[in-house]
């Protein structure tokens, strides 16, 4: 018996040895007790470090009633050419695009999977890839993801011209993972980007909080695909703080077991969402009130209110004759935050330009409509570039745009498009050793076209 064993361990060991002894298995007991650090114990848990005491000199201190975080040096977890913060549709496309354009790329994601609100938010309907005349404007890597889903049985439905498809979240998570691995992107999951690393007014990387503690990743260029503009905001870039509807998606099952003959006239529940690739399962959107998605109290309240509503609404649905077997499968792990921080960039995407069909010489992508009800809108490169900070590009829902464009910019295919553009531009900036704002647009456009992006 090791003399440093504490009381509980001692008792457990004694109990075990008594039990084992009784069963005539004293050998096992001895092996467990004598296990050394780094060795397998033969049990499901092993000791990584014994009696570890962290250095508390850097812990936050309560000084005169104020909480003070002392200065400290952060360990550098990794160094890379392009750092992509956020693994949603924009981040994944940006990472793959930058890697294919020749840069070394690191992708950091707050949750344990890729796809962002598409998968973690369970927003399964892919709106925004078509314009008038059923033309599909979202091409490139976004379309590649969709084509991979096509090949998997039950991964995506409604893949017809002029129709908005619906994907399966698990299939999307898998396909994105596969593509990220194939591209050779370095990945850190469960990492929450909390700060920017700046040198003058240039971003040189980002700080992450994870179970490993606060660590830094150094980079030549950063693509902020966090959705909330966490990195560019931390670096001091000019942005607009907006409110938008905060909802929570859920999935309901057994809809194929609804007994339609029992449903009374006119009492068919309306809020059962839309079909998904899984038979009998619908994904149910929830719009929610318009609030500040950066306020943790708001997020907490929304999460709780929405869960209550979804549960109670489901009980009401189950009370409708014929709907008894319908059940709530799951609520989305991620709250449906739509718009929070929006970059004030060198240029912006405007509703008036959409209406006028404006063309930009620095076009890096073309956005679509929700239902093909209007024409394409060009995305100028300037909408991704902050005015006052270098080394960072915005991608996804936080790019520079006017208020009328929010509900188009945040759509999945449009996030693919801006992510693709930001990834390629970041890689070009590194290759040409210039700030992202100074990249040669023609070169970015050429590479985007080589990667099959549609630029109008």
């Amino acid at each position: 018996m090791d003399k440093r064993m504490n009381r509980r361990e001692c008792l457990r060991a004694l109990g075990l040895s008594g039990l084992a002894g009784g069963l005539g298995l004293s050998l096992t007991e001895t092996a467990a007790a004598q296990q050394r650090v780094g060795e397998s114990s033969g049990f499901q848990s092993s000791i990584i470090a014994e009696h570890k005491v962290l250095d508390t000199s850097t812990a936050a201190k309560l000084v005169d009633g104020k909480v003070i975080q002392p200065r400290r040096e952060l360990s550098v977890l990794h160094e890379t050419d392009v750092l992509v913060v956020g693994g949603g549709p924009a981040g994944v496309t940006a990472a793959i695009a930058a890697k294919r354009a020749g840069a070394s790329v690191t992708l950091v994601e707050r949750y344990g999977h890729f796809g962002g609100l598409w998968t973690g938010g369970l927003v399964l309907l892919v709106l925004g890839h078509i314009v008038t005349g059923k033309k599909q404007v979202c091409q490139g890597i976004g379309e590649e993801i969709m084509r991979r889903l096509d090949k998997i049985d039950g991964a995506i439905v409604d893949r017809r011209p002029g129709v908005n498809p619906t994907a399966d979240a698990e299939a999307v998570k898998y396909v994105m993972l596969e593509m990220i691995e194939e591209a050779g992107v370095d990945v850190f999951l469960h990492c929450w980007g909390v700060d920017a690393i700046v040198e003058g007014n240039t971003i040189r990387g980002a700080v992450f909080e994870s179970k490993s503690g606060r660590q830094a990743i150094l980079a030549q260029a950063v693509v902020d695909a966090s959705g909330d503009g966490d990195v560019f905001a931390a670096a001091g870039a000019d942005f607009e703080h907006r409110s938008h509807n905060i909802g929570l998606v859920s999935r309901v099952g057994n809809l194929d077991r609804v007994d339609k003959s029992k449903v009374p006239e006119g009492s068919k529940p309306r809020r059962l969402g839309s079909h998904s690739p899984v038979a009998g399962v619908n994904w149910v959107n929830l719009t929610g009130p318009e609030l500040d998605g950066l306020d943790v109290k708001t997020l907490t309240r929304m999460e709780m209110n929405h869960r209550k509503f979804i549960w109670r609404n489901m009980q009401k649905t189950k009370g409708t004759p014929g709907y008894e077997k319908v059940y709530l499968m799951e609520t989305a792990p991620q709250l449906g935050v739509r718009i929070t921080r929006v970059l004030n960039g060198l240029n912006r995407v405007r509703l008036s330009d959409l209406r006028a069909g404006k063309q930009f010489s620095d076009v890096v992508g073309v956005g679509g409509s929700t239902n093909g009800q209007h024409g394409p809108w060009q995305i100028p490169y300037g909408a991704l570039v902050p005015t006052n900070v270098d080394g960072v590009l915005a991608a996804g829902r936080c790019i520079s745009m006017d208020i009328g464009m929010a509900d188009l910019v945040r759509l999945i295919p449009n996030c693919f498009v801006t992510g693709h553009a930001a990834g390629v531009a970041a890689a070009v900036a590194i290759q040409d050793r210039c700030a992202p704002r100074d990249v040669e647009i023609a070169k970015v456009q050429t590479i985007l076209k080589q990667q099959e992006a549609y630029l109008g």
Partner: protein, 411 residues
Amino acid sequence: MSEQDTKAPGKDRRRIRRTVRSICMFAALAILWFGRDSHAPSLIPGLSPFVAVASLLVTRTLHVTACIGLVIGIVVLLRPRWFCRWVCPMGHCADGVSRAGRRLGRHPVKFFPLGQWILWLTLGGAVLLPWPFLLWLDPLAIFSNALTLLAAPSTPATGLALLPALAVLLLSLVWPYIWCSKLCPLGAFQDVLSHLVKCVRSHMHRDKQKHPVPDDASRVTRRAVLGTVVGAQCALGLWLNHVSGGKPARPLRPPGAVDEAAFLGLCVRCGNCIRACPTGIIKPDLGGHGWTSLMSPVLDFSEGYCREDCVACTGVCPSDALRPLPIQEKPDIHLGLPQVDMNICLLGADRECAECRRWCPYGAIRYVFSESEYCLVPQIDAAKCNGCGACENACPTKPKKAIVVAALARE
């Protein structure tokens, strides 16, 4: 053809007259069709003193188009049936068909002067209510309306728009010259005016040989009094029918429309506004709002909305049923107010939709979260909204739109 005309002017004179009327007809067609983006089409029915007088009685304001009609009125006061003989394009067409009818062996019939009754009934309605309910029988309006054929060749409205003109031509074929001499209210109006002149002349001159009192003076006067009174009664009846409940919903009228009851009468159904509309949202009413509204212009937002930069229709109305509207006043008008049916609205089913809010040119739509329904509900700011229908046009629900502009309740 009045008695004056049957005095048979020389063959040359007739030929000249026909040529002038042909020129007038083609000029009218050209103005109506090629000038449909300008104010010019209002000139065609606007030339009619009948329309001008009715418009004056109803709106009680004197507009430019009415002035033109009144000038023509003064001319015909001095030269009886001058307008019929030298200008009227509808009369020209009817004459041509009448001649064909004669050649086919048809003969003019004796018929009582229905035109004068139409005239008095209409003016009676205009004075009392004001509802000049037969104003649409003006020949210039009939002529103008027939052109709707060109504007929308494939719609069922085309047939209806053509119907009055076809009826005039058919009647002329069967009973030659019946339209101009007995039915046309504008012709009757000119007859009445010349009759008036004759009476005044005979009153002023002692020489009864030279200026006799017209022998049918008492009959014309009786007709006028009786017609006006009956017209007023009819208009009253129509109005009562119009204001009583249980009727089809009040239609949406183009911008600048006068009060609905006045509009129903004042609108001559010329189709000018329908043809002037660049987005094609003004459609002739095919009976969806009761027979009193038949063929009058109604708004239909299925193909477009009433653009914020356009007042084209208000400039082409000959009878001021649509008052001229300066473009600056466009945001302040109220065509109607959108109503949302949350049983259809996608927001009520938790779908992502922001179409009506996005396309509202006046920023009048907000989505407000309802705690009780636990969903967003579109809210319309009635002060900002002018009822242009951009929301209805943009609404993606099918077949019924969740947001529909409804006419405002009567003030």
